[in-house]
Point group: C2
Amino acid sequence: MKSEDPIEPRLPRGFRDICAQDLILRRRMVDIIQKVYFRYGYMPLETPAVEFLDVLGKFLPDSDQPEAGVFGFRIEEQWLALRYDLTAPLSRFVAMNKDLPLPFRRCQVGPVWRLEKPGPGRYREFYQFDIDIVGCETAAGDAEICLALADSLRALGFADSEFLIRISNRKILNSIVEMALSDMETDQLTRYLQSRRRDRMQLSGNRDRIRESYIDDIFRCVDKLDRVGIDGVTDLLGEGRLDETGDFTPGCFMKKNQIDYILRFLQLDCSTRRSFLADAAKLIETAEGKEGLAELETMDGNFSAAGYDDAVIRFDSQIVRGLAYYTGPVFEATLTFPVTDESGRKVQFGSVAGGGRYDSLIERFTGKKIPATGASIGVDRLLVAYSGRVEKSDSGAPAALVTVMDKTKLAEYIAMAAELRRAGIDTDLYLGSKGIRAQIKYADQNGIKVAVIAGEDEFAMGQVTLKDLKLGASLSAEISERDKWRKEQPAQIQVPRARLVEEVRAILKRHD
Amino acid sequence: MKSEDPIEPRLPRGFRDICAQDLILRRRMVDIIQKVYFRYGYMPLETPAVEFLDVLGKFLPDSDQPEAGVFGFRIEEQWLALRYDLTAPLSRFVAMNKDLPLPFRRCQVGPVWRLEKPGPGRYREFYQFDIDIVGCETAAGDAEICLALADSLRALGFADSEFLIRISNRKILNSIVEMALSDMETDQLTRYLQSRRRDRMQLSGNRDRIRESYIDDIFRCVDKLDRVGIDGVTDLLGEGRLDETGDFTPGCFMKKNQIDYILRFLQLDCSTRRSFLADAAKLIETAEGKEGLAELETMDGNFSAAGYDDAVIRFDSQIVRGLAYYTGPVFEATLTFPVTDESGRKVQFGSVAGGGRYDSLIERFTGKKIPATGASIGVDRLLVAYSGRVEKSDSGAPAALVTVMDKTKLAEYIAMAAELRRAGIDTDLYLGSKGIRAQIKYADQNGIKVAVIAGEDEFAMGQVTLKDLKLGASLSAEISERDKWRKEQPAQIQVPRARLVEEVRAILKRHD
């Protein structure tokens, strides 16, 4: 070990360490959400980080290549992967446990891993908190998921005006795109396929699959509305889009009347659930679309019955969701106020949770349809918004530091620390090798509130000195008031050793 | 998706799903331990699951091949790995954060992954809860870790007679082995190397490294004392050991007088800390051994100062710990009572936590010695013991189920569920497609206590029926008492709809 060159301590791209304050806050946030999920009857489950690659499948948005986006690896002749979400493992779990009483409500919180391009605030390991209900085929299940999301955001202290649950339905979107494509010409598909340089062998002779893939791409374009705006979507649906950096994205080669039909849907009045339902009904003609609309009608009724109005939950034609496996209602939770991000900038935050119905996912295993719906909270994103909200955030620092003036008296200091701990006071005992000044600096750096000091004099008199570090800090800050403060509330006092616990408590009480 | 053959839902060997009850219990246990660690000033940290392979290094016990035991994989031209413990990532973290105020106390809980042979109760993904103190060079740090372990076990409800913190010191062990080998002949090393078929090129010309590796193997033999007993260790140190299955493990070819010296140390009287210190002093002659003994003297003083006697913390010559990187005190927490394992058998549980001082590990990165010591609790193992202790264990099931008799009245049922939830009662709304009998069975299977039932009659009268499912279950169990019970506390009552919340609360109160 000693003869080798030092190894550079470093983390792989897209990974990070999370420190005390953020962890404590995340724990608090997760506990609050967990309580809401319990309130709705969702039971916790923990699946492993590692699964078989084929079991997870590949349902990530925005990625054409198989396995792209997934941390896959070969171990003992088998292809394994780190889970990229919590939905694929849930599907596997349900398929493996055939005796599970249905409907099965479960929640799961934990890290997922994606091999995507990391960036500011975008990590390759991030936390999700999912709820899902398996074995419920009606839209009442979808409605419940939305209620639980709304309750979670309320429980975290967000006002009704600060978030919105926005809902659409893949059946309606399908219907709109089908209607738009009713006058599609072969030429359109050919140009599309050529522009994508799609492996035509893979799709050859299978017009249905070509069409399916075409429609998926149209959805993907519409899903970019947030980022590129109506003009951008118009370009993407048409001949293609040139972005600010000069990159060109080929379009879907839809005709003007087709695009117009889709844009008309995207610009429907969504200010109330009833107005959306009424206006959408006028545009939708297919049976599937009407089914989708009826599901939203049901959900509207459920929301009203539970007491949630348009201020909190709305229908929104612009919600698409990236994942290909959604089969019915899709939803997103959006924060409506600007959030200060890690780098201190105010940003419109957008989606902090999303989900939808996926009635065919479990069928991959069972060959039998098992309906399911659910949502996933982006814990790290939401935490940024939540941490801006919490008044005093707990640094996790201990309350007191027992300093060590005289190393030969260590037993005395240990006894003091043990006494304070037994009294329920989080206490650090200084175990480094530096002097008292450095020890006080160490306490300040760690956010410790009280330093316990005892040297020769104190031991001789059966006393200890207590230094109020928070008061000390405010004294240095307001130097003009210094003498006044010193008289009224001295930052440093000597007290009998026997009264250690009470006196430390008294100082801590000042700063509660 | 539909045209393909179904995929078999399955988990890779050594991985498992953890369900509600165990998760809730684990959370409770972890929270209790966390509180103790906070009491001692340890701050939480979370490092990622994925690290660079060379950064983690390879310090697993019982394994000679590089990378064996580690989930390593190549992504984007780089060798990565899942962390196999929380100590290697901590060392990397400390080396990366040069401005960290020292001593740095951190705790971390989370899964680690090991590519080892899975077996009953042995998984490839398991939880550890670590505390470490970095930048403390004195044995007071080691003593503090032991105190925090003892306090954790006490906080979990284990009596002082039910566990033991057992401590030894690598410096003493080194000294004993060095003394034993003082008359070593070249022949001994040659036989050892031949029996292991060690790559002699790797070690060739480096007598020091051969000797180091030889001593490591001697430690490994002694570390097997728990499993193979004194006779087994005698064989392993000597010519080799034939186990019950007929497998032969080559020995270390030590001579009888050498083995006897080691056995004398292993059989020292460890009943009190003072007796161990007195007896060990007679055996130890090297400077390193005396240093180790002085460290244990310090720790003994610290334990006494903090009020922990021999009933809880002892010195024990049989503690070795498998890891090669320990440089000073090593410790283990052992449960002293038989635990009922997953398969219902009573087993002597042995170690639930272990650790030690590793003063050279961070040096791998920094080139500079940064002393550190710490311990790791085996969360899953300890959970098995803890769960045997907890009186009522929370299944995580919701308290109430609102059943659905008439699907056209769903809005009414949703309103009831919303009302109960707002009143703080965890409530499930039945969203499957089955009838009322199946719904009651579903409630029983899930451990739900109260079913809310409303059909045509109830709606007409403005009433709801409440069924006390726990009482119902005890009624069926004690069938002879049935009529008596029915009169006094009927399992099913009708109450006004307006009193839903109060009446459900009243039933739940019976079962608190």
